[in-house]
């Protein structure tokens, strides 16, 4: 198994702060901590070491990543290892960005090592494996064998166990397992503990709040599109939009129609009583109202296509993808405003 190792200028022996402007550089074989790593690796050879100055990387991030990825491509390794960066923010960030780019662009397995509070962990966003280390270089002796162990597991191509079992930082994926007690018993335990002042949770706090966009500067000249998650489809649901847990979205032409006629559109949404909506589909997609605003000159024009999905039982990740895909199409069509009708 062939590997490439990434280090910053300091650990690659190129110099300290005075060498922090060093551009991406290739060195033969294992260098610096790479020698200790090579000694700990089993049947994995470090072909080359790539190094980049911390300042250079920070100031020319995109270019540095491109050049480093190109250098990896020449070596054609099976595995890329970065760091350990310990608590060094710039170095850890570079390790994570580099390893993530190698993984995403070349499809080569990549892992890094750093302290769990290093900003590189957030930059990795779960896309690479990160071995946790001490906050400073005193943890080198401990870090290298653990990096080697995880590298071995990755190189073997076997399915990895849990973060605890394999020695990497949790990446943020929620995986099922069987607990010792039922959910009901765990809930009682959690509630009694909370009443006693010890609050714990099996689901981490936090939620993706979307800030509202800036107001449209001038609606009277804007092209406005209608988007809905109300499950509004042409009568008969020709494309079989699911009533719940949609896997995608559809677009339908509205041309120059003045309203969505009763009997020509319906809602297939499985999360609410659609009787009233089907009596007047404009209450799902308010074409009648925006047309009158268009005729009154308060809206520039109505986009000739509306976008629809069912928004119930849809994981946040899927919804985010729908939104991104629809927004890209609308942006390419020159749409400046969107009226999103939810249910």
């Amino acid at each position: 198994v062939k590997a490439v190792h990434y280090l910053n200028q300091f650990f690659a022996g190129l110099g300290g702060e005075e060498a922090a402007e060093t551009p991406p550089t290739r060195l033969d074989g294992a260098v610096g901590p790479g020698r200790g790593l090579a000694a700990a690796l089993d049947a994995i050879e470090i072909l080359a070491t790539l190094a980049c100055g911390d300042d250079y990387f920070a100031e020319h991030e995109e270019e540095a990543v491109d050049r480093l990825v190109a250098l990896v491509e020449v070596e054609d390794p099976d595995l890329v290892v970065a760091g350990p960066a310990f608590g060094s923010g710039r170095y850890g960030y570079a390790c994570a960005r580099f390893a993530r780019a190698v993984s995403e662009r070349l499809g080569i397995a990549a892992l890094a090592a750093m302290h769990e509070e290093n900003p590189g962990v957030a930059a990795a966003d779960g896309k690479i494996l990160i071995v946790p280390t001490a906050v400073n270089v005193a943890g080198m002796r401990d870090a290298l064998p653990r990096m080697a162990q995880l590298a071995g597991a990755v190189a073997a191509g076997r399915e990895l166990g849990s973060p605890d079992e394999e020695g990497y930082l949790p990446r943020g994926f929620r995986r099922n397992q069987i607990a010792e007690k039922t959910g009901a018993k765990r809930a009682i335990d959690l509630l009694l503990d909370k009443l006693a002042g010890d609050t714990r949770s099996e689901v981490a706090a936090g939620f993706d709040r979307v800030p509202p966009p800036a107001p449209v500067a001038d609606l009277s000249t804007a092209l406005l599109a209608l988007v809905t998650e109300a499950g509004c489809v042409p009568q008969g649901n020709p494309d079989r939009l699911p009533t719940i847990r949609a896997q995608g979205w559809f677009r339908y032409p509205i041309g120059s129609e003045d309203s969505l006629l009763t009997g020509r559109y319906e809602s297939v949404h499985g999360g609410f009583d659609v009787t009233l909506a089907n009596e007047d589909p404009n209450r799902l997609v308010p074409l009648d109202t925006v047309r009158s605003l268009e005729q009154a000159g308060r809206i520039g024009a109505v986009h000739d296509t509306f976008y629809t999905t069912t928004g119930n039982g849809t994981p946040v990740a899927a919804s985010t993808r729908f939104g991104r895909e629809i927004a890209e199409e609308l942006r390419d069509a020159g749409v400046q405003a969107v009226l999103l009708s939810g249910t």
Binding site: Q177, K181, K185, I188, K194, G311, P315
Partner: protein, 143 residues
């Protein structure tokens, strides 16, 4: 709590009514459960908030809906008071494909697919696997 309330006002009213009822019983703590997902997460969260504001402590049992390959929130709503949550498992995790020894009800699906040719399916397709009343021991942890 289930997301049957259609408007924000009704959701708020139902949450406060549930909290009032618990307070009237003299409860110090409440466990909020639901039998659905998505929309229901809002009802759950509003009920947690209403209960906490009424002076009770609240714990939740809920199944997560987190894409197994993304670092995304598994709940579609959340409030800061929901700091004590039991996970009844991640309903979106894929169960690897397996081939049944015997298929009941016919060998072929309506679209022509062999009934035996199952692929990976999400846990939610196993009815009741992520039981939100807390009857099972399934949970989810962060990998």
């Amino acid at each position: 709590m289930r997301g049957y309330e259609q408007t924000a006002d009704d959701k708020q009213r139902a949450a406060e009514a549930a909290a009032d009822e618990a307070a009237r019983l003299g409860a110090d703590g409440v466990i909020v459960t639901t039998d659905a997902g998505g929309n229901s997460h809002t009802d759950v969260m509003l009920t947690v908030r209403a209960s906490e504001r009424a002076g009770m402590r609240a714990t939740v049992i809920v199944a997560e809906m987190a894409d197994p390959d993304s670092t995304n929130p598994g709940l579609t709503d959340w409030v800061a008071e929901a700091d004590s949550i039991v996970s009844a498992g991640n309903a979106e995790e894929l169960v690897p494909a397996w081939v049944p020894e015997r298929v009941l009800g016919g060998e072929t699906l309506l679209d022509g697919t062999p009934a035996r040719a199952a692929g990976p399916v999400p846990v939610r397709n196993y009815l009741g696997a992520t039981n939100q009343m807390g009857q099972l021991a399934l949970t989810a942890t962060t990998w």
